[in-house]
Symmetry: C2
Subunit: 336 residues, 2 copies
């Protein structure tokens, strides 16, 4: 039996950080074992709000690919592929735009939030408004059954499935698959300063290539409990970034639980918990950093991984495009 | 020196009629002699407001191609090609959507008028709102210098040129060409009943395949001057459909002028001018109808014309896509 298909990926707007590791990379490492996983370098989508900074999108394709390989995404188990080099995705996007109204796109909660966050006002690039249709193209072209996404992206999967139902209803057969969002239980990792979630644009994200000193400095400066002035005082664990990181990255759950209890009762200092977190993060990142540096010297190998993955993805996405065109009864010169 | 490039074409939503002949086909017959003319069977664009009737779009591709060949579009002089089979057009469309805002698309007068005419209200398919970006992709992909369009479509060329300037400015070189709209001097041909302009959807258009009886019936029923009750009465020429048709199709301008004078003075009956128009239209359509019927029996030939044209168009449009991608500094796996 064919393995269930997973589509995942990242906008290529910057190297990946610990927020990605906790939020999606770990999941991918598990999924690749018993799923057919496509990992999309989403450079075209990255252009929807970076059209005037294409160099940023271009330069980060290899950075993100390096991150994938460094954490253990295995090109023999996962297909790493490049969105801009898969024309069927653009063709399906243009087709799907006919199956969704402008009003529906404007009502999409993800789009609403992101338009607000980016301060577009009335000047939303049309490509940005339309990106849910492009994501629907990505998801359906790979026939993904599972799409790991953050909670904020769940409405995009809803919108994809609406398009799927419309296409299938019109074709009179189940050409396309409805996808299921796989939403991580844990919320997104905070920034070290406790302000907002860790993101590429926050400037304080801890990269997967962070040096020992960078890790140490980031942990030392982490927001804890501002009222926890003396070691003997009871401290708060909620909103305490150090504990959010320990929850995300310390494998010994019992240890984290006992550290939390101790901290809440008083008698455990910020220095002590930061020291422990520093150990955890140094141990996590060291092998990734080393492997990443090695791979960065083998650019031809990385390019070849992307090339082979994109070639396979091309076959899959072209086949889906043909099926959709046939299903809808579009004209085909090759069948004419 | 290379001939100037022309892009023209039709949405494949119905066979062509005399309105097309007067408005664009005649121009194409002239242009193909000393221009490199691409004639686009715009099936993808036709889907933007026919997504739920794809069979209408599918079935009319060959009908429109038959019309082209029947009127004398010469596949050795013009390149007849199929939009849906040119992936670079979809890829450029998606890219250009990042260079135009939703607000700008909504302000496009052509879009405003067409949204009103189609009664979309708030339920505009996103593909329809976005079609100026898709037309910009068509025009620029062929590097067209001239685009023959109706006056109502002139704002689309304006919007195309805005995108061209943005792309060129960002690339720092003149990769793309600004296009010039070639707007016919004569206005659009009216419907035989005088209500509105002749269009595929009006139901009373005189097709290029019309039979002698259909032509006769259409002319007999034509709207003239409702106050011209007796032959001896002076009649009006403005708003008189018969004269609009004589202006468009009678090669003897002196004859039309003297008929107009006679009619305005009184003494020339509607029957007489209709008889003359019937002769003109029968003579115009007869060879087109015959040639069209012959070609309809040679489907393989027609398909082959489209296939060869699309193959050539593919080379041209792919080359432009590469140039744009390189110009903007997008990532290329083949150059990596």
């Amino acid at each position: 039996m064919a393995k269930p298909i997973v589509l995942t990926g990242d906008r290529t707007t910057g190297p990946l950080h610990l927020g990605h590791y906790a939020g999606s990379l770990q999941t991918r490492l598990k999924l690749q074992k018993d799923h057919d996983q496509f990992v999309l370098l989403a450079d075209s989508q990255a252009l929807t709000d970076n059209a005037h900074r294409p160099e940023k999108v271009r330069e980060n394709i290899l950075e993100v690919a390096l991150d994938y390989l460094a954490v253990g995404i295995d090109p023999d188990l996962s297909t790493i592929c490049l969105q801009s080099h898969l024309p069927a995705l653009a063709e399906l996007s243009m087709l799907y735009l006919n199956f969704v109204t402008v009003a529906r796109l404007e009502r999409n909660p993800t789009i609403k939030d992101e338009v607000r966050a980016r301060g577009f006002g009335r000047n939303i690039p049309a490509g940005f408004l339309c990106y849910p249709a492009a994501q629907a193209a990505d998801i359906t072209a790979f026939k993904a059954a599972l799409v790991p996404v953050g909670e904020d992206q769940a409405p995009i999967i809803e919108q994809t499935n609406e398009i799927v139902r419309r296409i299938n209803a019109q074709a009179g057969s189940e050409i396309l698959l409805e996808a299921m969002a796989l939403i991580p239980k844990a919320g997104r990792l905070p920034n070290p300063d406790g302000k907002g979630k860790m993101s590429k644009s926050s400037g304080s994200a801890i990269l997967l290539s962070a040096s020992p000193d960078e890790i140490y400095a980031a942990v030392r400066g982490m927001f804890t409990d501002p009222n926890h002035l003396h070691v003997q005082d009871p401290g708060h664990v909620d909103g305490n970034v150090v504990f959010a990181f320990l929850d995300a990255f310390c494998d010994d759950l019992g240890e984290v639980e006992s550290l939390k209890n101790h901290y809440q009762q008083g008698g455990l200092g910020d220095q002590a918990i930061k020291k422990r977190l520093d150990q955890v993060l140094q141990a996590l990142i060291a092998p990734i950093r080393t492997r990443r540096a090695e791979l960065a010297r083998e650019k031809a190998f990385v390019i070849d991984v992307i090339r082979r993955g994109t070639e396979r993805a091309k076959q899959v996405t072209e086949a889906t495009k043909q099926e959709v065109a046939e299903g809808l009864g579009l004209f085909s010169l090759s069948r004419a």
